[in-house]
């Protein structure tokens, strides 16, 4: 108590001289007034909750019981979690879902290169590919649900008329449900990634290409030795944000599959949601939240380290 008091009290007044210190106090007050709303909001809605998540992950409790009934049980929740088949399945599905990231990065990069230099009506294409990103996932998911309808949906109708007798049942088929969701995720992510790639392309110095042309480099050589390496920081950034966003996939699952069929599409956030808000198991849900937190943290730290090391500049 003593130490914190002197520490906070001493900081603003310590260095400047008398007249300056009054001015400085005024500045400090103004500063706190300006950042105050943000600070209060972040403290109440983010900082306190994240501490609570850590505490609750060590507890056994449910919403219905009062706070006095909370029981701390150490790391039992985590132990149970890593023996829980459904949780392991959801982690595995998350890992599989990561495969969608390099796929949409490759498509986005290709489209960005073509649209940036080699076509007319650039802004039409930007808007067209951006459409899925601005549309709500719920609306998009409902449309795909109908398109993927096992018997009557246009996708399977088309496949059957092409002579495929037993087309996959897509989101109703445990084997195809996750890949179907990944396809939709790729479709929605392309617009965003492409726009960032186009911005990246525009920052590549033109004289690099001119020099290469003088040396007689073809399209492929120019891509391989100029465009691709010059885009590496953009790619790295998109890879990291892409990976983080796969850890947060929720809307698609909630609307389309609810984790099924046979848990084939359950992922960590969906599992967390079900455990907390359907089964009302706060402890296990919070331990999942802690795992989620550390996954995202690890990737973010990797980004900080990696940006210095791997990015080709």
């Amino acid at each position: 108590m003593q130490t914190t008091k002197t520490a906070t009290g001493a900081v603003p007044a310590a260095r400047p001289k008398r007249r300056g210190s009054r001015l400085q106090t005024k500045e400090t007050i103004a500063g706190f007034l300006f950042i105050g709303p943000m600070l209060i909001g972040v403290t109440i809605l983010t900082l306190i909750p994240i501490i609570a998540t850590f505490l609750l992950s060590l507890a056994e409790w449910n919403f219905v019981a009062g706070i006095q009934d909370i029981k701390f049980i150490g790391f039992d929740n985590f132990e149970a979690l890593f023996q829980d088949d459904k949780f392991l399945k959801s982690m595995r599905n998350n890992a599989l879902f990561l495969l969608a990231v390099p796929i949409y990065l490759a498509i986005s990069m290709f489209l960005a290169i073509v649209i940036d230099k080699h076509v007319y009506m650039k802004s039409f294409f930007k808007v067209a590919y951006f459409m899925p990103y601005i549309s709500s996932i719920v609306a998009v998911a409902i449309v795909w649900q109908v398109l993927f309808h096992p018997s009557a949906g246009p996708v399977n109708q088309a496949l059957m008329s092409l002579g495929i007798d037993n087309p996959p049942k897509w989101i109703a088929d445990p084997k195809f449900a996750l890949p179907s969701l990944m396809m939709i995720a790729v479709w929605t992510a392309i617009g965003f990634n492409m726009i960032v790639y186009i911005a990246g392309l525009q920052s590549i110095p033109k004289d690099l290409y001119e020099a290469a042309e003088i040396d007689g480099a073809g399209t492929w050589v120019k891509f391989k030795s100029i465009t691709f390496p010059q885009l590496s920081s953009t790619t790295f950034f998109l890879l990291v944000t892409g990976i983080i966003s796969t850890f947060k996939v929720f809307d698609l699952i909630a609307v389309l599959t609810k984790g099924g069929p046979l848990n084939s599409t359950t992922m960590i956030v969906w599992n967390l949601y079900e455990t907390a808000f359907v089964n009302l198991k706060i402890g296990p849900a919070s331990s999942m939240a802690v795992v989620l937190f550390f996954c995202v943290l690890a990737i973010t730290l990797l980004q900080w380290v990696g940006q210095k090391k791997w990015v080709n500049y």
């Binding site: 709303p37 900082l47 609750l56 996932i137 449309v143 398109l147 726009i195 944000t241 947060k248 929720f250």
Partner: protein, 280 residues
């Protein structure tokens, strides 16, 4: 020389045509949705797909969606209210904080900014449960106010706008101070007008993200009358599961306002995204 430019032009034209075909394929789900929303139910699944309905059912479908048994106008109003208020409050809070962090020099500022920035790493899903418990305790659960507050304290917005405020020369601020202006006046008269384009970009993005938000309304709203359009749409599909033409009309209605906002603000959205590579 002219022949090479001509072949280049032809090549560009051909590539444009190919890309156009790909983009039509890419937009197929939207086209299908739009066309299905105009049809009578029996024609929705007709194969081969009838892109132009043989029997137009536009008014009936949209009337049923908007003022029928499950009237969308109510949910539309809820969504407009929540989205507009969230956008306005979030812009205000972020702009104030961004100014405070960049243009007011005081000792704690640096550390506080680091703390705020660090919270950006916390995925909201990791704190849903405590937020839910907290909301139940302080009576914000199942209210629009609670939903609005959840979207109002954006670290991303603060960070983005801070970059722009830092671009304002300190001489502007200093000379205004010498003229006797306080920070409040400097903020309104000098700083705010200068970063208005950045705020517009952030506002459009926040609008789109809030309009499309499904997770928070799902968890923090319970009463049917308070539903936003995303929740309403899902409920609508469970009720009208057999009426795909109506579902598609609902989906079109949910996407349309965003499309309009996007087309109006297209340049700032694309620039904003390209600039910071931001993502909700």
């Amino acid at each position: 020389m002219t022949t090479t430019t001509r072949t280049a032009k032809v090549r560009k034209g051909i590539l444009t045509a190919i890309m156009f075909a790909i983009s039509v394929l890419f937009l197929m789900p939207f086209l299908w949705m739009l066309s299905a929303s105009f049809k009578i139910e029996a024609e929705v699944f007709a194969y081969p797909i009838k892109w132009i309905p043989s029997q137009w059912h536009v008014i009936e479908n949209y009337k049923e969606v908007w003022v029928g048994k499950f009237p969308f106008y109510k949910y539309y109003w809820n969504t407009v209210k929540v989205t507009v208020l969230t956008t306005v409050i979030s812009c205000a809070v972020s702009a104030l904080a961004a100014y405070g962090f960049s243009k007011i020099q005081f000792a704690a500022s640096k550390y506080l900014f680091l703390i705020v920035l660090a919270t950006y790493m916390i995925p909201q899903q990791a704190i849903l449960v405590p937020q839910f418990i907290l909301y139940r305790q302080i009576q914000l659960f199942d209210s629009h106010l609670g939903l609005i507050l959840l979207g109002s304290f954006s670290v991303l917005g603060t960070f983005m706008l801070r970059q722009f405020f830092m671009g304002i020369h300190n001489e502007f601020i200093e000379s205004a101070k010498i003229d006797g202006a306080g920070h409040w006046r400097i903020f309104w008269k000098i700083a705010f007008p200068l970063v208005r384009p950045a705020i517009a970009t952030y506002a459009i993005l926040r609008f789109i993200w809030t309009w499309n938000d499904y997770q928070n309304p799902l968890i923090f709203l319970r009463t049917d009358a308070l539903y936003t359009i995303q929740l309403a749409m899902q409920k609508f599909t469970t009720i009208n599961g057999e009426f795909y033409s109506l579902m598609m009309a609902a989906a079109v209605s949910a996407i349309l306002p965003l499309l309009i906002v996007f087309i109006i603000g297209q340049k700032s959205v694309i620039e904003g995204i390209a600039l910071g590579g931001v993502k909700g």
